[in-house]
Symmetry: C2
Subunit: 342 residues, 2 copies
């Protein structure tokens, strides 16, 4: 990041004119310094959480400072469920699975008498929960495999266009946290490359991550199933197979980060025990690093949950946060707004 | 890409001043238009190969034109061995394996009597070849696993700093094709994101890809082995395991592209049958696309090989090139220079 001092001898008027032209030439403008961005986080209340973010960014962008990090090494990784968008009363992708099973049921009359499909069709969440991981995996494969990658992307987009959250009655893509959107933008404005590193399906996020988060598909890391390359009528396709390829959760997160990004992030953002190893991998390797956990403390505006939660359980990672001096965001206290529509 | 016409009303002098400042602010400058870059490929002789490249770039960057592609969709994928750097008399990574076995031998006295190690230590390439894929895999695992990712990156960098090509007596990182370096730069200057998609090891390329090709680690796709996350003395590490994770060759290339990039490239560059499916995936999906094959026809300046070669065999893909109208670069005729040091 170049600081204003660099511009000695250049007329301020010409400089301003130049800057005005930049967006047209190169897209969104990178600011002159982190300090100029002090109000880039308007949905964050002043306090230690916000200060830990801006202090970190100032440290690593101050050229000549002891903690300066060159732009190409400014990698930030964000969990998705519960960190960037809502994960209650269930993961959005699970809502997708349940809706898809219902939509596909007419072609599968046998599901009426076969678990765990029967439970889904009857809305029997207790029996569904009892089917455990194996039951969920079966539902996941039936709804996520058996089509090309292009077809799956369309299924996801079509579903998101009509699905509504049961409490907020809004599209899931509106249930993203406004303070986190500002944080993504603030980091990018300071030279960061922002990645999503989620336990959720990589192909479930990519159709909308660019539009909603400004994170392009190539910067999304997630869980995946295997695919097979096939020529069909002279056209190349990738066919989705009912076989797990990679689970991007817990120890899988640093592994996925290494595989996809190939360098260690300097900032990591999560909200649950699934993010523990990603936070460790990012912050415990020397140098000024930022680890941050979103603690859901606001039952009124969103949800309040942590150690006992079924989705997004935050227990070991909350203890680790105290130990490792990670920032813990108290949603109720630290966020002026939760959603853009408030 | 913004064209000059956009700047009506803006003083040319101020515009030039602005442009002069751009590199300091944002790194390498994106040019005003593809046409302005007509001599961005000085090591290419004029002819159909060069014209196919510049015609393609003009088509897809002409705003309002029928073939315009928005910048975020300008993904170009490059094979590495034989496309960006030399792959004769053997893959560079195989030279690394052989050297590493020799370097590690003092700690493994048993290798003196154990194949395929014995063959390597005695320089008996015939016996080594007879050990086949299984033998090579064993050598690969011994030299690529059993250390952390950070340690492996250092081993690779240290080796590249001293290893020399047997014929050219130069570091392998100087044996990169100057016309292809220009092509990488030309595409990036026209808004492309350039990726390497190689059958070679992803962690073997990442330590030097940014410096040599301008391709950052997160834009390198390759074959990989599995890793395990471990906390060692309070520090997180990824330990490399002797188990194949992914082979990024042939049908693996579109699969790897989909997994890492998540969108279909619009230009692909290869040189062997291992690149066939990547070229198909890129070019056979509608729209103006560029597929290009480097044909090694220059025994004097580099090597001449194709259908019968052990490394970098080009047979099916050469026939497919004619069928699919992919550009075939005749190295001898189309390249003014092969290496920068010529």
């Amino acid at each position: 990041m170049t600081t204003p001092q660099t511009f000695f001898g250049v007329s301020r008027r010409i400089l301003i004119s130049s800057l005005a032209l930049l967006p047209a030439l190169i897209g969104p403008l990178r600011p002159i310094s982190a300090l100029a961005q002090a109000d880039a986080l308007p949905s964050w209340n002043d306090g230690p959480a916000k200060a830990s973010i801006t202090d970190f960014v100032v440290s690593i962008t101050t050229q000549g400072g002891p903690d300066f990090v060159p732009a190409e090494q400014r990698i930030a990784v964000f969990d998705n469920d519960g960190t960037l968008w809502v994960e209650q009363p269930m993961y959005v992708q699970l809502a997708f699975v349940l809706d898809r099973v219902k939509a596909m049921a007419p072609l599968h009359p046998e599901w009426k008498d076969k678990q765990p499909f029967k439970a889904v069709l009857e809305g029997d969440m207790k029996t569904l929960a009892e089917s455990g991981e194996r039951g969920l995996l079966e539902l996941g494969m039936v709804t996520h495999a058996g089509m090309t990658t292009d077809e799956f992307a369309k299924i996801v987009s079509d579903w998101l266009a009509t699905a509504r959250h049961p409490r907020f009655k809004r599209p899931y893509t509106e249930l993203v946290y406004q303070p986190m959107l500002e944080l993504l933008g603030y980091l990018r404005a300071n030279g960061f490359k922002t990645f999503i590193v989620s336990g959720g399906g990589i192909e479930f996020m990519r159709p909308w991550s660019e539009q909603v988060y400004g994170v392009p598909p190539e910067q999304v890391v997630g869980s995946s199933i295997k695919t097979r390359f096939e020529m069909r009528d002279g056209r190349p396709t990738l066919f989705r197979l009912p076989e797990v390829n990679f689970i991007d959760d817990k120890t899988g997160k640093p592994i996925g980060i290494n595989e996809h990004i190939g360098r260690r992030p300097i900032a990591a953002f999560g909200n649950s025990d699934g993010d523990l190893e990603m936070l460790q991998w990012t912050t415990l390797s020397g140098g000024v690093r930022l680890g941050l956990i979103v603690h859901h403390t606001d039952a009124e505006r969103e949800y309040a949950y942590d150690r006992q939660s079924h989705f997004g359980k935050l227990d070991i990672a909350l203890d680790a946060a105290a130990l490792n001096k990670w920032t813990v965001v108290d949603m109720k206290k630290d966020w002026k707004r939760v959603f853009a529509f408030e």
